[in-house]
Symmetry: C2
Subunit: 328 residues, 2 copies
């Protein structure tokens, strides 16, 4: 048995890797919770490695991604980011100019997120031992006592919101990498989401769960949350906001936007009577103009269903392999 | 200008990289302190990437190293490790058995250090995009109010102790990699040091500074601390504990053990009247049987001097390039 690309895709194989190979050995309650961030007292902790290719893409780069991704993992458990660390693995021969641009982007994203990068490390490996530059960030956040979104709180009757259009990041990176003609029109949505989450908190919205739909896209996030909530999540196809060039690129490539990574969007699960309020908060944020209510949670077996305009439903399965390697 | 192996060696080029390329962009007080760990309130934070080659070597492996190195960076600022994160970057085709062995080692080291791995991430890159497996860990520790070793506290009159023999890790990895005949006799010292540090704390030793002499070895650590302390560190050649096979391997290869990485040793700087007490604590620990007093701090320009048995002194310079790439 060997490691395959699918083991890193965040889907079924990733889950198997975690459940069969990591958890039995490293078992502890904080890890076993398998949230976007782990909870240790009133702290939230998370880490993510970033290996995106190409390193620069429309709308962002590896550096920006490495900050936003980790800030967002903290934000999704309701934690205010307080400090980040960054570990660089660089290939001998990487242009220093390029490193400067990546670090510049990290600085900009960190400032935007209001969090300092307090510790770092750099390893250089000989030519050929890594592809250019990988960055692994970790983050520590502070949890508020009265704002603890978590998937187990999701329940039948909840409404599902998304803070904007689907699939922008994944399609922008793919188009940039493959030289698709559409690439000019596609831009990654990479952005830090803490401020938007804090908006929900400050507005007193009772948020049951938050999730940033990265690897595996909205489909994977919803399937995971359906599992935690022991309910069915039903998304309305026509309610899904998708930018026309992204839709065109998806149709061209045959890729379902539900499976494509986002890096600046969140899914929010709130009680039905809070949905309008939550939507207003999201839409008032500069990153949320296209926020929308996209579905609801129903009692029943854990599953994700997509409902067409005519009311037909089809189940959406968890992706098993790797749709787009090195997307983040 | 491109990245060279020397930029990752922890020496002069690493310092230039940090001071010219990272600090100006990511500047904040916690980062600028450039300690083994950053301080944020009563928390200590650190990160390190591990790219050691080969991944399995006498006395340890990449997994064990990735836990011990980060635990030790926390311990060196006096912080009790409370949680770790681990980010894996794996090459497609890596044997799952091998990953299992690495994770097993991580679990063992984490248990030994008394700290859970609470969050993780796995990225898989296509064959050829990385060399097997890299692990980046980050750690959070809790600082005690009354135990804050830091290089700025080091002052003339302080005594320098080391917790055991020099250069074991670097020479074991080198010998294993290069297939030196001596390799059987060489064993890495990789081990978590928090318990030993806690012993110093519990004994009420007034520890001015601690440092684990990893990349760049004892030489680099002492030169850095001499700079922070604005004093001269004088090490006595004959007092340096070096295991005979390590000395033989150093002589064979022409490598100065002062520059070779350790992964389970600490340097302690204490007031002269605390030296005997500190030595007793170190020697009573299962990792410290060969602890020794190896030098002292004198007033004068920041420098590291090596004193021979006849009393002659020679300056020891900071390594500029990469002595042993991928040693950790």
């Amino acid at each position: 048995m060997t490691i395959t690309l699918g083991h890193g895709a965040g889907g079924r194989l990733s889950h198997q890797l975690i459940e069969r190979h990591f958890l039995p050995r490293l078992d502890n309650p904080a890890l076993a919770a398998l949230g976007d961030s782990a909870t240790v007292g009133d702290l939230a902790l998370t880490t993510d490695g970033y290996v995106v290719s190409p390193r620069f893409f429309p709308g962002g780069d590896l550096g920006m991604l490495s900050i936003c991704g980790t800030v967002n993992d903290l934000a999704m458990v309701g934690a205010q980011p307080i400090a980040l660390t960054a570990g660089f693995i660089l290939e001998e021969g990487l242009a220093l100019d390029e490193l400067d641009r990546l670090v510049e982007s990290m600085a900009k994203a960190a400032e935007q997120a209001g969090v300092p990068v307090v510790a770092g490390d750099t390893k250089v490996v000989p030519r050929g031992a890594c592809d250019g530059a990988f960055i692994t960030t970790a983050g520590v956040g502070r949890l508020a006592a009265d704002f603890r979104p978590e998937p187990a709180k999701v329940t039948a009757g909840d409404v599902v919101l998304i803070s904007g259009t689907l699939a922008d990041h994944g399609m922008a990176v793919l188009a940039s990498r493959e030289g698709l003609r559409l690439s000019g029109a596609l831009t990654s949505d990479v952005a830090p989401l803490w401020d938007m989450v804090d908006g929900l908190r400050r507005a007193g919205i009772e948020v049951h769960a938050l999730r940033d739909p990265t690897r595996g896209g909205v489909a994977q996030s919803c399937i995971e949350i359906a599992g935690d909530a022991h309910g069915a999540i039903v998304l309305e196809q026509r309610a899904l906001p998708i930018a026309p060039p992204v839709l065109a690129a998806c149709e061209l490539t045959g890729i379902d936007p539900l499976y494509v990574a986002n890096e600046g969007k969140l899914l929010a699960f709130v009680p039905a009577d809070q949905a309008a309020g939550a939507l207003a908060v999201l839409q008032a944020h500069r990153l949320g103009h296209q926020a929308a209510i996209i579905g609801r949670v129903e009692a029943g077996p854990a599953a994700l269903m997509l409902e067409t305009e005519l009311g037909a439903r089809r189940p959406v399965r968890m992706p098993s392999g790797e749709l787009l390697p090195r997307i983040c």
